[in-house]
Symmetry: C2
Subunit: 528 residues, 2 copies
């Protein structure tokens, strides 16, 4: 009953509540203007819009819960011991299709739904729940037309003519609070800016005051803890299928202070990256952008096991000309746990498999292999001080842990770190706490609950690294998928192999599905 | 799995999703000011408000669905053949406790929750779903304080001191659209006015421009089809436990054009009434307001089988001095199906039992009797032209139908009518269509679904009486209580003993519970 996992279990039908496709009538001719949400007063059906009827599918009901709703649940029911001094918000986002897609797009991937953002605002042991769609141009066009207008995943040739040239971003992958904005990301487009408290969309296409050179933005920017600035990149930056990559940094106020455009060996998925104190480490997977497949009306990516994956390393603050693309053991990694450099020696920890971790994308050569897709924590090392460095080293650390969605204490981005976290998989989902200083690991579980990605919450804004809580959604297997927001105290996990959650929010329904989640302190979101 | 039924099944624990009581900490000292919803920008917990934890109760989860949420579900999934020319809104309201009550109020009745309004906006075969609380002073005080502040049902002595003197109305019983306002009623208070399209509360205490003389308003006003005016009354009108009854009429614009204050034999529940072309017919049940029980901290009413029930009859437009209180077979009726007069001969059809239909209220003399509480359609007749008339006649019509929540085609209020409707009970809930002209009855059912109250929808605004649809909520027994909005075509019901719904809205969750529902044409709610 868990959702939002990359990796071997992603192909099961129950993955995402309402991510059902196909079955509706073909779209007809209609007008859809890109207007701001605030400009919509009376939303009425476009002429002749087909009635909404997602195809009969086990994914569509039962597991669907509150998909497609926008709601407020004030002062949720809670259990346990909510820390009275915890004051902030836990945000989540995931794909939640507005409309069923026409039958010819039934092979689209489940991640192609519009971004549905949820927030648990936590203060004084009280928790308010709120969800809203990221109302960008794509969302508004479909809302006004009351139908699906966008075809296959990152293939604009499959779109309805009325949305030709639209930003196709779904804002469905991850969120980040920076310079007072809640930014919702999809890696093929600029972020959508939302109000961090009301979740109203304030800018459907946020480009840092027009300063972004490229057209894309990673879902996983990093913080520079010394400056409070944001570090980000975008691939296929200058246009569809381009090999260009924009890398940039801002100050704490969101002003771009450094940016370069560099080039990848080929266009392929670059989902996450690493920033250390002195280096940018890009990571190119062999889930390659496939022009032939796109021309045939398919999705953007195809797994090509014959292509090398690359680490791309360059100095921060330079002109990008020092970028080197390094090869090594050909691993398929998805998320960065953390990374740092000591002088010219760089270490990056990622979760990843030996092969493709996204089984819903086509494979060029061989069928998907769940064993090769299984994720372990991979430690990449390279010394950029060596002459003519062209390779990295990789080892699998903590081989008893398999999982995905690696996280850290985000306040320690760029720095040498001690505490890592991983969603583990097995007979029971778990949240692993990894102490790199001692090599000890503990895994917390919630019997009967499938767990989504965890997120680290500092005990106080100035608490030591790793001193705090893990927060995330669990879906009850016994209660028709009903969701709890679960809070573990990491001190409890470290003290016992059978730690229980310190506190829960008991939602009376199944929450919308998520990919990732993000914690923001009250001070970052303009809250008292 | 049905909810919102008066009658024998009301005592079962699963009655109302989140109507759970007791268990929270005692309320402390706090400040709560009666402000408008619009004035609340950042709603934060009052100092020291107890965490929300409804007591463990089979009613609290599983059956609870989307209780306490306020949501929008745009363009719901639908099935079947939604009439393309149907353009209007189906509204529902029911009690949905904002907060668990302190333990000492655990014997409160399940109808004492705050009014949660839902709307299905239907046009072009597309259906948008929206729910909002009626945000009156009671709701806002509790919202700001983040706790329950009001004690037992209609017993202000049990309230927190900070809300002393508050209007205690919950606006949880029925809705009515008139002169552009959506009015939400609780019979102990003035209506709450809401915007019919946004469901925003526009007046937390609507008194027809200050013209209401009394402090109370029935949940079941009627329309005068000749003038478009509204006809209403309020009991305990001049104050708590008073015997005074205000009766008034408005024009189509909501201006009060006639009002009188009359007196009841005793203070007791007067839930519904009948207006004919020439008469007002009040109905007093022997669910008496009980000062002794109230003084002891109990609820407002106690069933006293030794008291007579009364029909109170007076001419419309007079000074009220002609009001006569008539007795007859001592029936306990709840809702008026319809009524009319031919000269001085008055006929009123109500659903009712031989004894108390509200088992959750205490009984003064004998335990509650489910057989005596069973509802049948009772026809009351009286000729006011007789000398010294003091009694009415009553007969049970259609004795093969048992049920409650009688309705008619509301466009035929005051007039002699042909078509009546009833929620029937038995092995399977049903919606009965009754043709008084022929005596024929048909009962539509939806296998596997428990049905809430039906509402008649004219096929077009000018369709003949009874030509149209029945609409209402059904909860699926097989799908964890998930709700459908169900539309039957009455022509289909009349044509077959096994008619199927013509169309459905398939909600992915259990809808909030309801007492009553109301249909409004688009022209009445300012919609295109």
């Amino acid at each position: 009953m868990t959702d939002s996992k990359a990796g071997p279990r992603l192909d099961r039908r129950g993955f995402m509540g309402a991510s059902a496709f196909g079955g509706a009538a073909l779209v007809g001719g209609l007008a859809a203007a890109p207007v701001l949400a605030q400009e919509i007063s009376a939303t009425r059906p476009a002429e002749g819009a087909p009635q909404v009827d997602f195809p009969s599918d086990p994914r569509a009901f039962g597991g669907s819960g509150t998909n497609r709703t926008e709601m407020d649940l004030f002062d949720c029911e809670v259990e346990g011991d909510w820390p009275k001094d915890l004051n902030g918000a836990f945000y989540r986002v995931g794909p939640d299709p507005q409309y069923p897609k026409p039958e010819q797009y039934k092979n689209d991937i489940p991640f192609d739904g519009e971004g549905h953002v949820s927030m648990f605002r936590i203060k004084d042991g009280h928790v308010d729940y709120k969800t809203r769609y990221a109302r960008n141009a794509r969302w508004l066009a479909q809302h006004n037309a009351r139908r699906s207008l966008f075809g296959m995943y990152r293939n604009p040739s499959t779109d309805h003519p009325t949305v030709d040239g639209y930003n196709r971003g779904t804002a469905n992958t991850q969120l980040f609070v920076h310079h007072g904005k809640l930014l919702a990301f999809k890696e093929d487009s600029p972020p959508v800016a939302m109000d961090p408290l009301t979740l109203e969309t304030t800018d459907p296409e946020y480009t840092y005051g027009g300063r972004m050179m490229g057209k894309t933005h990673t879902a996983h920017p990093k913080i520079d803890p010394k400056t409070g600035g944001l570090i980000a990149f975008g691939y296929e930056a200058t246009g569809f299928l381009s090999k260009d990559i924009e890398v940039f940094e801002t100050d704490a106020a969101g002003n771009i202070t450094w940016q370069v455009m560099v080039e990848a060996p080929y266009a392929g998925m670059m989902h996450d990256f690493c920033a250390t104190e002195d280096y940018i480490v890009l990571y190119l997977t062999n889930l390659a952008a496939d022009a032939e497949q796109i021309a045939a009306g398919g999705v953007h990516f195809r797994y090509d096991s014959t292509l090398p994956c690359y680490l791309g390393v360059m100095r921060r603050g330079g002109d990008g000309s020092d970028l080197k693309w390094l090869t090594g053991p050909n691993l398929f990694c998805t998320h960065v746990m953390a990374g740092w450099n000591e002088g010219t020696k760089i270490t990056v920890d990622m979760d990843g498999g030996e092969g493709n971790q996204f089984p819903f994308f086509p494979s060029k050569h061989e069928p998907w292999d769940p064993v090769k897709g299984t994720g372990y924590i991979r430690r990449f090392t390279v010394d950029m001080g060596q002459r003519n460095v062209s390779t990295y080293q990789a080892e699998t650390i903590y081989p008893h842990l398999t999982g995905m969605l690696a996280r850290q204490d985000d306040r320690f981005h760029t720095l040498k770190y001690r505490w890592g976290f991983l969603n583990t998989m097995g007979a029971q989902d778990g949240w692993a706490v990894i102490d790199h200083a001692t090599g000890n690991t503990r895994v917390a579980t919630v019997p009967g609950f499938g767990l989504s990605e965890l997120c680290f919450v500092p005990r106080t804004p100035t608490a030591a690294e790793g001193d705090g809580y893990l927060i995330g959604i669990g879906n009850s297997q016994a209660e028709n998928g009903r969701s709890d927001l679960i809070l573990f105290d990491i001190a409890d996990i470290l003290a016992s192999d059978n730690a229980a959650p310190r506190a829960r929010v008991k939602l009376p329904f199944r929450a919308v599905g998520q990919v990732h989640g993000f914690w923001a302190d009250a001070s970052a979101i303009g809250a008292a």
